[in-house]
Symmetry: C2
Subunit: 168 residues, 2 copies
């Protein structure tokens, strides 16, 4: 089954993290692949890397990407992320595979859409979760389950900044 968490609201990556916890609690094996992130100061990563039964791979840099002008390294890292995702999906080693922010990597053209669709075609018994705003219509079409996290009300729009321990 392939789940997509998309939309402009909070809760996409955190919902995936919740699924990880549920799986680990049931002694299942989990792989978390993150696009456009390389930063082990995130609270959730600090926590998860201490756990058993989970492998974490991050692809990206600790710099923000300019969607209109990504750096060479951003393309390179996204390609490495795609290769790792392909390997992991084919490995049969995991029960839950999270591919975090891949929708955004596609939207920002760090990877062609075909690569995401190719990953979705890989036969696996694992639950696969792909997150990020801007899931493409073709991705939605091929997914088994799609949830849109819709922002109804947000304090960022009233000028409050991202806070450690809440947003990251």
């Amino acid at each position: 089954m392939i789940h997509i968490y998309t939309g402009n609201g909070k809760g996409k990556t955190t919902a995936a993290l919740g699924l990880i916890i549920r799986s680990l609690g049931n002694n299942k094996k989990v792989c978390l692949i993150q696009f456009m992130k390389k930063n082990f100061v995130y609270g959730e990563i600090k926590f998860l890397e201490k756990q058993q039964n989970i492998d974490i791979y991050q692809f990206g840099t600790d710099q923000l990407i300019d969607p209109n002008n990504p750096d060479e390294i951003d393309f390179k890292e996204a390609k490495l992320g795609y290769k790792k995702a392909k390997e992991v999906l084919n490995s049969k080693k995991y029960d839950l595979i999270i591919i975090d922010e891949i929708n955004v990597a596609i939207k920002w053209k760090l990877l062609p859409l075909e690569k995401q669709l190719e990953l979705m075609e890989i036969k696996t018994s694992a639950e696969v979760v792909m997150t990020g705003r801007y899931a493409e219509p073709e991705v939605i079409k091929r997914a088994d389950l799609v949830t849109e996290m819709l922002e109804i009300k947000h304090y960022f729009t009233t000028g409050i900044q991202a806070r450690k321990g809440v947003e990251f």
Copy 2:
């Protein structure tokens, strides 16, 4: 700050679980209060009850509730849940307080809406997250952040297409 995760899609409770992981990774103190659940076989609960810095309280039974005809014990448990939530919100002991499924407890009239609004008025520096479908308009109005998890496509209801006017 009070966050609401509501809507008919997946990811409300799991998003709250993800926030828990993020907080624990940042050495913060967490309280998870669950309405209408008393079942420690949930993978996430098995996992979380082994962790430091988290207290978990469940109110409910291991039986499903009939929304049109709840049992006496369902009302009693909901009332106990409200009391615990009030105590916890006033305690200043936690950085993150999750009140899981309270929106549904209100919708099913296990508790009057005024009790939830009363909890929302308690001054606390903690992040407070209330989850569950059917958040009442008054609750949305008082919240700082509201995300609706919207089911766009679900394998239980095959054939449903992404709807016009929804931005992916």
